[in-house]
């Protein structure tokens, strides 16, 4: 996974290259290509219609510790969601880089639940198969989901192995020494943790009807 160097440490030459790239890929989008109700539907899912009242002040982008790794800052994501740029939003790295630290959520002057908006967009992207291929974060989420659905608890060693198998098995070599160190200190377990009443858990998780996509 290649990420652009953060703005603060970017060399002049590099920034020039990136600027040039941006100019090339920018294109006009006509209103007929947009999904105009997208914003309202997302706002509806993410607790209250507040998303639509965003004043574009940029506080979310300023407080976000990961903003400089994102392809669109959180402020832009909100603007684009509201205007109906569904494909761009659901294909973005931004929604996956959000680490749920809730900085923006507590700072937002309009009390928009931005972290919940990001979760809504993540779910949507997964359901529609939109996320960037081989990006480890959605794969981690999916593996975690499967792990817990099966056992009711998560076993970190199993989760990581399944993540690396699906993304890049060579990472296992890189992480082997760290894994061994943790194992020697009793911090990585090999046996799988699980709940006793799996039947009860499965009734809860599998009984409900799946939500329709947005």
């Amino acid at each position: 996974m290649h990420l652009p160097t953060p703005t603060s440490v970017r060399s002049e030459e590099e920034s020039h290259k990136i600027e040039k790239m941006k100019r090339v890929i920018r294109r006009i989008k006509f209103e007929s290509e947009l999904d105009l109700n997208f914003g309202e539907r997302v706002a509806d899912r993410a607790y209250g219609q507040k998303l639509l009242s965003c004043i574009q002040c940029g506080t979310c982008s300023a407080t976000c510790p990961l903003a400089h790794y994102m392809d669109y800052t959180p402020r832009k994501i909100i603007a684009m969601t509201r205007e109906g740029f569904k494909e761009e939003v659901l294909n973005s790295l931004t929604i996956w880089l959000c680490a749920s630290c809730y900085s923006c959520y507590v700072q937002c002057p309009r009390q928009i639940h931005i972290t919940d908006v990001m979760y809504t967009l993540k779910r949507e992207a997964i359901q529609m198969g939109f996320h960037p291929k081989r990006l480890p974060i959605p794969i981690l989420a999916q593996e975690f989901y499967k792990r817990v659905l099966k056992d009711g608890r998560n076993t970190e060693s199993w989760l990581l192995v399944s993540l690396y198998v699906r993304t890049n098995p060579f990472i296992m070599l890189r992480e082997a020494i760290l894994g061994l160190k943790l194992f020697l200190r009793g911090r990585l377990t090999i046996g799988r943790e699980h709940v006793k009443r799996r039947d009860q858990l499965h009734t809860i998780l599998e009984h409900k009807k799946k939500e329709a996509p947005l």
């Binding site: 630290c101 979760y119 480890p136 993540l163 943790e193």
Partner: protein, 300 residues
Amino acid sequence: MRYLYYPGCSLRSTGRAYEESLLAVLKALDIPFEELSDWNCCGATSYVSIDETDAFALAARNLALAELQSSDSTINLIAPCSACFLVLLKTERYLESYPHVREKINSTLDKAGLHYHGRVNVRHPLDVFVNDYGLENISKHVKYPLKGLKVASYYGCQMVRPFKTFDHSHYPETMDRLVNALGAEHVDWPLKTRCCGGSLTGTIQEAGLRLNRLLLKEAEKRGADIMLTCCPLCQHNLECYQERINRKFDEEINMPIAFFTQLMGVALGLSEKELGMHRLFKMPSLKQITHPKGEMVNAW
């Protein structure tokens, strides 16, 4: 008042030292507790990224089980891991605030013979120690005051945000007050609630390492001897990737990272083994911290 204790998955693997030290300290202070029987994973941030109803239902099962286990009118459920704490708290709050969520989740739980009535109060152990048990009582139990030890308390994000429970969401001070009660000094630093990146160190490592480097460097610059955390994932990130951060960014950071309960245990005179000190990468020596004269010379 009897507490229910929800360990969470991380405290059974990478964060084992947290569980060991927490339980040892609870016992040393005679705080009664019992484990929530047959608890399941809280779902963390991943579950809600896939399916929201499942995520709430998964967390709500734990709340419903707590109501089965205890007959108290308000059940205090201790969740030490920040992610578990937030997920359970968020479920508790959202079920309370949004009737449509509550109905949906309860109809799901009903199918499995469970029901959530809203009696659970999710608590973080830090809150329990400082606000229920009290700093004065803790000071009374301190056998070895940690004189001269400079501590940077790192709270992480999810314990203080988005809900304001017992402390400020950007500049909390509960852990600092606790550290002072143990006889140590706290370091004022601005990054105490800045994100460590969570699982990014395992997925997009580049980004994760940069975030952790920032935290470690700042704590070092402010003269901290040790960083204390209250989350197994923060502890894992800050400790286990330190070597890699040093190599990648050409730094020489050498910062011990412990759980706040471990330092409490040290001051209370518990043994290294009870506190899970042997599970840390940089093993601090208790003899040096608890120097007979009560003075400490760069022991960690």
